[in-house]
């Protein structure tokens, strides 16, 4: 009887192993709220881009995932203390964190975009049509750095302390175009002033020098198999369109 059990256990392990090394059900740490990436619906349910993508990834791998809410300052120590096995909480990949944790491939790079009044005739390619125009950016942001280095010589750059001041001046007609985090611009310009503004050109996430490495899922250094499983699942979801569906739900179509 014991042998039969033993053999079937080995069989089960082998079977599971053939699918995904030895990946088991896991818990994922997340810091809420950070709308629209992770937040609670009015009836208390966790949702957001990270949560939906995370659930889709777990479904793709074929494991059960449980979300654990954890404050941001203790989120990496919590991972080390095995309170959960992964962090998926809009964490930007950088070298300091790489020393402590193992990152998946980036699953999201917050895109920046150009916004202008609907009547604007500014179009690609930028350097020529931006000549002599007034560009608005938020001071000290990566968008500021990008615009300053690339268009500082041809255009006037107005730097604002807050995105609200910038939007006010855009409404006042003092700015020809602004460069913003796409989700912020969409919420403040497009959604709240229907028809007055438009996005010009493509979303911008390159070059890395300005826009960084994007958000990654963090694992303990030793859990390479788990990270690989998530990377594989991520590329599958990007190929089969699931990723794009979830993206569209939170940020509009690309």
């Amino acid at each position: 009887m014991q042998t039969v059990l033993g053999i079937s256990l080995i069989g089960a392990t082998l079977f599971a192993g053939s699918a995904n090394a030895d990946v088991r059900d896991i818990r994922i740490g997340v810091d809420v709220p950070y709308e629209p990436m992770e937040f609670r619906t009015p009836d208390g349910e966790l949702t957001g881009f990270d949560i939906e993508l995370g659930n889709a990834l777990c479904a793709e791998i074929g494991i059960q995932c449980e979300w654990v809410v954890q404050g941001w300052d203790g989120i990496i120590p919590g991972l080390m203390a095995r309170k959960y096995d992964a962090i998926m909480s809009s964490m930007t990949i950088n070298d300091d964190r790489r020393k402590q944790v193992l990152f998946s491939d980036p699953y999201f790079t917050p895109p920046s975009a150009w916004f202008a009044p609907s009547a604007s005739d500014i179009e690609m390619p930028y350097p020529q049509t931006l000549e002599g125009s007034t560009i608005g950016v938020q001071r000290g942001t990566l968008q500021d750095n990008y615009v300053t280095d690339n268009f500082g010589d041809v255009a006037d750059i107005n730097r604002y302390a807050t995105a609200d001041d910038m939007v006010l001046d855009m409404d006042a007609g003092r700015l020809d175009i602004v460069f913003l985090d796409f989700p912020v611009g969409k919420a403040t310009l497009i959604d709240s002033n229907a028809g007055d503004y438009k996005v010009i050109g493509e979303m911008i996430t390159e070059p890395k020098e300005y826009f960084g490495d994007g958000f990654g899922i963090a694992f303990r250094q030793r859990d390479e198999d788990l990270a690989n499983a998530f990377n594989e699942a991520l590329s599958t979801l990007k190929d089969n369109g699931t990723y794009e569906d979830i993206y569209g739900e939170y940020f509009g179509a690309k």
Binding site: R139, G140, D144, N145, D165, D169, D171, A172, G173, R174
Partner: protein, 243 residues
């Protein structure tokens, strides 16, 4: 010029923050700050003289509006006045269709208006005090000579009032220079704007702000020196004769 640039470049070779580029930001900032402060002080001074005379008028309809103006502009923060003139005018119906908008569209003129109105209010009060403290004997003497009001103002009251107002006005000039640091909140790239830019870009608050503090200090000392010189020249008759 060419060799100066090379020399500075060599000097800055190992410096990641103070490159030629960031120094040029500070340079532009210095120009903007000096322009803004100088222009607002000049225009403010020109406005303040008639206002100070009117402030001491017997007629209620001349006296009261000027009092009210000084009261409002001295009683509210300059930052609030700047916000009102820069962001507030946007909400005046139809303002964007008038010729005024050409002036108000860019941040420089709104800032100049706010600074000018503010310094004019303070300067008015300084001059009013100086005019009021004109020795009665001088006025009586002028009347005894049969001077008209205007001639008396021009020859007796105003010159001596200017001299007496000089130390207080010197302070106002320095306060104005320091107050101009808020210009960067309406996107003007003044000295403080340049410092904030460098700070945000390199996350180096000490380097960025200590450098700009040193520049402000130099400007302040230049103004102080100028007023010391003027006081020594214009108030020479008040010094003890032994010196």
């Amino acid at each position: 010029m060419e060799s100066l640039t090379t020399w500075i470049e060599g000097l800055l070779a190992d410096n990641t923050i103070f490159t030629l580029q960031t120094l040029s930001y500070y340079g532009e900032g210095l120009t903007t700050t000096v322009q803004l402060v100088f222009l607002s002080l000049i225009i403010g001074l020109v406005l303040a003289v008639p206002l100070a005379i009117g402030r001491g008028s017997q007629h209620r309809w001349i006296k009261l509006p000027i009092f009210f103006y000084c009261y409002v502009f001295r009683g509210t923060p300059l930052l609030v006045q700047l916000y009102l003139i820069y962001y507030g005018v946007v909400f005046i119906e139809g303002i964007q269709d008038t010729w005024l908008w050409v002036l108000l569209e860019k941040p420089f003129v709104p800032a100049l208006i706010a600074f000018t109105l503010n310094t004019a209010a303070y300067t008015t009060e300084i001059f009013r005090g100086a005019i009021k403290s004109t020795p009665k004997g001088e006025i009586e003497a002028a009347r005894a000579y049969g001077m008209s009001w205007w001639l008396m103002m021009r020859r007796i009251v105003l010159p001596s009032a200017f001299r007496r107002a000089l130390p207080a006005y010197g302070n106002e000039v320095i306060f104005m220079l320091h107050a101009s640091a808020i210009a960067s909140v309406v996107t003007i790239m003044d000295l403080t704007g340049a410092a904030r830019f460098v700070y945000a870009r390199f996350y180096a608050p000490f380097d960025a702000f200590l450098f700009v503090a040193a520049i402000y200090l130099c400007l302040t000392f230049a103004i102080l020196y100028l007023f010391r010189y003027l006081e020594r020249r214009l108030l020479a008759h008040l010094r003890p004769s032994s010196q």
